[in-house]
Symmetry: C2
Subunit: 440 residues, 2 copies
C-alpha cells in the first residue's frame, strides 16, 4: 500500500475533468459557476457599457488624503494595525459603527457588534449558525444574489415573498408563514433588504415596518435586516431601521462598502447577545479574525475625515446617475417595458415585454456593447426570466444614456424576433447562480 508508486486506479475517479468529483460534500454539489460568468468577463472591456456591476464609484474619494491617512496609521500604529485582532473586531471601530447606526435610529453598544469581511460574511455566518439543510429561509422576490448564494451553500430552502413598490407585502408574509407552518416546515428567518433593495430598487414603506415586525414577533421569527444602502437615499433623512424598534428580534447587517470603499471589506452585524456570541465563534472558525489593517483604516477614516460630507457627495453623484438612467429609460425603451423608480441605492429593476427572456437576450446585448444582470439570478425558484437588473452606480451619466440606447435597440430587436417566431421557451437553469463581483 505504501510502495510510493501511483496506482492507475488509486485516485478518486469522479471524472476526467474533475478527479475529485465524487469526493465533495453534499453542500458543494450545487456550487457551479454561472453560465453567464464567461460573458461577464468581457464586460470589463471599455467598448461595453456595463449596467451590470454594483461597484461603487470609489474614484470620488480624495485618494491622496486617504493615502496619507493610511500611511500615517501604519507608521504610527503599525504594531497594532499589522497584528492579529480579536474575532469580534477592533473595539474602536465598533464604537464608531454604533455612531453610524444611530443615524438610522439604532441605539447599540459596541458589544452588540461583530465586524465581518463585508456583510457577505455576516450572511454566511448567520446562515451557518441557524440553518440545517432543508430548513426554510424567507426572502423577498427578488432577493440579493449574494444572500441566495449563502443560503444555497448551507442547503436552505428559500421561499420568496412578494414585494410591490412599497417593498415586502405584509399580507404575503403572513400568508407564507401560515402556509409553511401548516405544512410543518421550519422557518429560520426572514431575510430582507428594506432600503433601495438590490435588485428591485424599492423601499419598505414606513407604515409597513411595524406590521412586518409585528408579524415576525407573533410568529417568533428572527429578521435579518441587510442595509447596505440605507445612507444613500436621495430624499430626506434615512429611514428608521427595523432593529431600532426590535433589538431582540432583528439582526442588522451593515457595511462600509458603499459609504466608504468595498476594497477594505469591512461590514458588521449588530445582534442580540446570544446570537452575537455564536457569530463571534463562527467568525473565529471561519477566518480567525478580520484584518486589523482594514479595520483601523476604516476607524481612522471615520474619526478624522468628514465622512458624512463624503456620503452626501456620493448621494448627489448617484442621484444624477439615477436621473440619467430614468430619463433615458423613459425616452428610449419600447412599449411594454416597466421599471422601478429607486429613491436611493444603485439599481433599477426592469420588466421586459411578455415573451422576452432576459438571459437569452444577454449575449445579443453584449454583442451590442451593453451588459446587465438577468433576473433569474435573484430568484431561488426559477423566477425572474422576464426581468433584469440595471445599475447606475459606476458609469458616467453620458455612458448610462448610451447604454440604455443600446439596450433599447436590443429589446426592440427581441420584440421583432418574438413577433416573427413566437416567444422563446424560458431558460433552463433553476436556482441562484453564485455571484461574481460583477453581479453585486
Amino acid at each position: 500500500m505504501s510502495d510510493g508508486t501511483r496506482h492507475a486506479n488509486s485516485r478518486p475517479q469522479g471524472s476526467r475533468i474533475d478527479p475529485y468529483f465524487d469526493q465533495y460534500a453534499e453542500r458543494a454539489r450545487g456550487m457551479v459557476a454561472s453560465e453567464i460568468r464567461a460573458l461577464f468577463a468581457v464586460t470589463a472591456r471599455p467598448e461595453i457599457v456595463s449596467l451590470a456591476g454594483g461597484s461603487p464609484y470609489v474614484t470620488a474619494l480624495p485618494l491622496d488624503v486617504v493615502g496619507d491617512m493610511v500611511g500615517r496609521l501604519v507608521a504610527d500604529r503599525g504594531s497594532v494595525a499589522l497584528q492579529y485582532c480579536t474575532a469580534q473586531g477592533d473595539s474602536g471601530l465598533r464604537e464608531k459603527i454604533c455612531e453610524v447606526m444611530s443615524l438610522e435610529g439604532i441605539r447599540a453598544h459596541p458589544d452588540d457588534v461583530v465586524v465581518t469581511v463585508g456583510s457577505q460574511q455576516a450572511l454566511d455566518l448567520i446562515t451557518r449558525i441557524f440553518v440545517d439543510p432543508g430548513e426554510v429561509v424567507l426572502a423577498e422576490a427578488p432577493s440579493y444574489v449574494g444572500a441566495l448564494s449563502s443560503f444555497a451553500a448551507y442547503q436552505a430552502d428559500v421561499v420568496h415573498v412578494a414585494m410591490d413598490d412599497d417593498g415586502l407585502i405584509p399580507e404575503a408574509l403572513e400568508e407564507a408563514i401560515a402556509r409553511l407552518t401548516a405544512a410543518g416546515r421550519r422557518i429560520k428567518f426572514l431575510y430582507t433588504v428594506p432600503n433601495y433593495q438590490n435588485p428591485a430598487g424599492v423601499t419598505l414603506a414606513a407604515e409597513r415596518r411595524p406590521r412586518i415586525l409585528g408579524i415576525c414577533q407573533a410568529a417568533g421569527l428572527l429578521i435579518i435586516e441587510d442595509n447596505p444602502y440605507g445612507l444613500l437615499g436621495f430624499d430626506g433623512e434615512p429611514m428608521r431601521s427595523l432593529r431600532a424598534d426590535d433589538p431582540d428580534g432583528v439582526v442588522y447587517l451593515g457595511t462600509f462598502s458603499k459609504t466608504f470603499a468595498p476594497g477594505v471589506r469591512v461590514g458588521w452585524a449588530s445582534a442580540p447577545p446570544a446570537i452575537r456570541d455564536k457569530l463571534v465563534l463562527a467568525a473565529e472558525s471561519a477566518v480567525l479574525c478580520h484584518s486589523s489593517f482594514s479595520q483601523l483604516a476604516v476607524g481612522e477614516y471615520l474619526a478624522t475625515q468628514p465622512w458624512q460630507e463624503q456620503v452626501k457627495d456620493f448621494r448627489e453623484l448617484y442621484r444624477r446617475r439615477r436621473d440619467a438612467m430614468l430619463e433615458a429609460l423613459a425616452a428610449e425603451l419600447p412599449d411594454g417595458c416597466r421599471w422601478t423608480t429607486p429613491a436611493g441605492g444603485f439599481y433599477v429593476w426592469l420588466q421586459l415585454p411578455e415573451g422576452i427572456d432576459s438571459k437569452a437576450m444577454l449575449p445579443r446585448a453584449v454583442s451590442s456593447r451593453v451588459a446587465y444582470v438577468p433576473g433569474t439570478g435573484f430568484y431561488a425558484d426559477g423566477g425572474g426570466t422576464d426581468h433584469l437588473r440595471l445599475s447606475y452606480c459606476f458609469p458616467l451619466p453620458e455612458r448610462i444614456r448610451e447604454g440604455v440606447r443600446r439596450l433599447a435597440s436590443v429589446i426592440e430587436a427581441e420584440i421583432d424576433l418574438c413577433a416573427t417566431f413566437g416567444a422563446m421557451p424560458p431558460h433552463g437553469r433553476v436556482g441562484p447562480e453564485t455571484p461574481g463581483p460583477g453581479d453585486l
Copy 2:
C-alpha cells in the same frame, strides 16, 4: 397573528440566557466558547509573561517604510485598491505567491492559486467543500487548534495519527487508513503541518515525505499541506514541499502572517484545477472577495521591499528566542518534564510529569504570572491533558527566561501537590475548543 403586539410565548423559548437556543443549526451546537478564554483575557496584562499566544513580532518590520509604501499605493492606485476584486484574488499578488512557493520547490501557475482571508479561511473552505457530517479527517496528534475548529464546524470526525520527533509516522498513517477503511468509514483528507508544526514544533523528516505521499496516493487520499512556518527554519534551506512532488494530490496552504504581517489577513491555497474552481465559488459565497487593499499592500511589499532579507531577520530573531527558551527549560524545569526542540517556527511542546493536568494547572500558572496553552485544545479526542504549548515568538528573550522560571515553580508546586494528594482526575471537556487569536 399580525396585530403588532408581542405575545408572551411568541419568541423562541430556548432558555432565559439564550432565547434562540433551540433555533440554531446542528453544526452550531458545538460552538461553545473555550472555558479558558476568560483566563486568556487577563494574559494581556503586562505583569504576565504570555507564552501562550502565537503573535508574530511585527514590531521588527520597518513600519515607517511600510507606511510610506501603503500611503503611495492608495494615492496612486486607490481606484483599484479600494474597489472589489475577483473572488480568486488579485492576479499580480498570485504571481508573487508563485515566486514565494518556488522557494519550497513548487512550480505553480497563478491560476492555481486562490487568495484567502488568512490560511484559516482556506481551511474553512476546504472543509466546506469536502466534508459531510460524520466523515473522517485525519490529522496529526496533536494538531493545529484552528484547523480542529474548522473541522468541528462542519461536523467532521477527526482521527489523530501519531507523530514522533520526525513528524507524522508513516506506519501509523497506514494503520489508520486501513483500520478506518475496513470499518467502512469515509476519509476525506489528511491534514498535516509538515514544518515546525503547531503545536508540536517537530518537522516531517525529508525521507518520510515520499512515503507519506505514496501512502496517500495508494489510498486515493487528498493531502492538505498547511505550511505557515516553512520559511522560518533556523538551519539551512527550506524543506521541499509535499505539493512539489504531487501537485495533483496535495492542496498547499500558505500565509503572509508570519513572513510579513497577520494584520493584512492574506493567505492562499494552491490546488488542483477542479478543487481550485470549487474553492473560488465557496470563497465568493463566504465573503464575495478578499480585500483589494490588503492584497495590493502585500503585492507591493513583495515587489518593492527586500522581503527575503526581512524573513532572514525574523528567523534570527526567533532563533534567539527559541534558544533562550530551550536554555531556560533545560536549566529550570524539574525532572520528569520532556519537550521538543523546534528547528524553526514558534512553538515548543512540553510534556508534564505523570499525573499533572495542564488545564487544571493553568489558573495557578496565571496567578504566578505566566501563561501557556493547555494541550487538550490540540486534540479532538480528549488527548493532551499532560501536555502544554509554549511559544517564544513574541516575548523578548529575558521575558522568556523569566516566564520559564515562573512556570518551573508552578510545575514544582504541582508535583508536590500530586505527591501529597495523588494525581488529579483528568479534566472534563473532550474536543477542541474554538481558538482565540491568543491560541494560534
